[in-house]
């Protein structure tokens, strides 16, 4: 019945206008630049990486680049990267959540100021911030100068994994605070009051009501800290010297020093799998489509 009607309608239109293709609407014209960008700068490079990853220098198909990850040095680097980015993400979460809660309960005026202070470092160059930490942490750096002034033993933090965790946390903390604060501030205070009214003490209200409601923000924050931490090579170069080698450094070396693009691509692809995997796991927890953004 419906099909009959549609056919009748279609034949009517054809007989009126001749067989014409529907005109492209304005929106479709507007999307062309983005389509070009996506193809040129995302899809094509991805295909190139795939190509290099699965071929050797002679151009033959091989899995040796992918399997490079299994070599002891690379595996160690990957494990260390996973470990450090996991620890950094955890520290960021443990620091950011209480901070977001404090921000939510203070008055409005000082609120904006504190938020500004948190975001301020992001306005400065990433490299500069990290080099600043190098200055602070090195053997004759600012920290050790202060310690020796008080006749305390000097700390050897630079060029250790701890320095890298410090660098990661410092650089990525705002990315954890803001999404959590965003979601937290939108929670209706009466929802919390209702939980208290029904008998929940502060802790129960937090676990059962507040935390689940902030989960989209937490997921967002975790993603924005974990992924850059996992792939960084700048932080490990500046704060780790050549002593701490992360997977990011390995890939960098393959591309810049060894000039083995195949190996570098292969390792990158493996890393991408890890990231996709962790994002898939995280997205399971973000049931509501309310994934909050940084801005």
């Amino acid at each position: 019945m419906i099909v009959k009607n549609k056919l009748a309608h279609l034949s009517e239109r054809i007989s009126e206008n001749g067989l014409q293709l529907p005109r492209l609407t304005k929106i479709k014209w507007l999307s062309f630049p983005y389509l070009l960008w996506m193809i040129g700068f995302i899809i094509v490079p991805l295909i190139m990486v795939l190509f290099y990853g699965f071929t050797n220098k002679e151009g033959n198909l091989t899995l040796e680049n992918i399997l490079l990850i299994a070599s002891p040095i690379n595996l160690k680097a990957l494990v260390l990267s996973l470990k450090l980015s996991f620890i950094s993400t955890l520290i960021c979460l443990l620091l950011a959540y209480p901070l977001a809660m404090v921000l939510c309960s203070t008055k409005l005026k000082s609120n904006n100021f504190i938020l500004l202070v948190i975001i301020l470092p992001m306005w400065m160059n990433f490299l500069l911030r990290t080099i600043a930490w190098q200055n602070i942490l090195e053997k004759t750096g600012i920290l050790n100068n202060i310690l020796s002034f008080f006749n305390l033993p000097s700390l050897n933090i630079i060029n250790t994994p701890s320095a890298i965790v410090l660098g990661m946390v410092y650089n990525f903390l705002p990315f954890m605070v803001l999404p959590i604060y965003n979601v937290l501030s939108k929670i209706d205070k009466d929802i919390v009051n209702a939980a208290r009214d029904l008998g929940a003490n502060g802790w129960q209200a937090f676990l059962k009501i507040i935390f689940p409601l902030t989960l989209p923000g937490v997921i967002s924050g975790i993603t924005m800290v974990f992924v850059p931490s996992l792939t960084t090579f700048v932080i490990s170069t500046i704060l780790g010297g050549s002593k701490v080698v992360l997977i990011g450094n390995v890939i960098e070396q393959q591309f810049l020093k060894t000039v083995n693009w195949n190996a570098g691509s292969g390792l990158s692809l493996v890393l991408m799998i890890f990231i996709l995997f962790s994002m898939a796991v995280l997205s399971k927890y973000d049931k509501g489509s309310e994934g909050s953004n940084l801005w």
Binding site: D190, A194, D197, L198
Partner: protein, 358 residues
Amino acid sequence: MTTNKLINLVNISKSYGETLVLDELNLYIRENEFLTLLGPSGCGKTTTLRIIGGFETPNTGQVIFEGKDITKIPPNERQLNTVFQKYALFNQMTISENIAFGLKIRKKSKIYIQDKIKYALKLVNLDGFEDRMPDSLSGGQQQRIAIARAIVNEPKVLLLDEPLGALDLKLRQDMQYELIRLKNELGITFVYVTHDQEEALTMSDTIVVMNQGYIQQIGTPEDIYNEPENAFVADFIGDSNIIASTMVEDKVVNILGTNFPCVDTGFGKNKPVDVVIRPEDIDLVKPEEGTISGRVTSLIFKGVHYEMDVMANGHEWLVHSTDLFPVGSEVGIHVDPFDIQIMNKPESEDEQAAEINE
């Protein structure tokens, strides 16, 4: 027949920063009564409710519950439950999880909880809604779930903060009857906050009229309506004609130059007073039969009655009548002495709050 004072508010004061919201408020609430805090926005009624519920702490004063001082006790330890204005349902939980929330906190058994959920849903006429999510429900349904969630914990007192505000008129009227039915079935004390005088008059045993942090009058709906104690109450509840007059002597008041017989005594001689006459209490008669006479200046059909403005003795009188008097007609005004309510003029700061806000 004296029923217990279940809740006693003693000298409660509350300020938010510089603003004084409540000033030494004293109020008691009896067991099993339906008490309504009625007043315009900002009068302090919601603050009072929140202080009873424990969501705000008063700057001074005490909240006494069954003889015990609960002022410092947090909301989760008070034997009251609240129905919030915007329902405050937990949107990520199902209806039964919402209702079961309080019971689970108190570690009731699974069977007990299941029974209670069924009972609560039946009570609010929403059987079968156990597995629905709150945002799939209409406003009225959400409101009923909020009520179910509160009463399932068997509180001694149910606090309701303008729960019917977001509903349309018909639904609001239905819910009013529902609430009365619930109160009678459950036998618990209801403390209700609203700015809608019709709600207050329909449902309450006792109405507490508030303005600017002070209690203006406490009484039954009939007392409040028929015998308002000051200009504010008279103006806030129902329509009224409030005219500055002079109490000539007992049982005689001079309104706009003419003496009217009335029934109030004890105001003294030649005392300035405010007079309240309800528009439905004014009889329009032939000009020669009325105490004063005037001309109809406006006529509006309101369904229930006609609303007319009558200009008489220099004052525009508001009249409600089922009889129609066309604009321009000469009429006489007659008021039964019993229907003339005399009030004192405001004298102190307390009473200034009793003045009508224009």
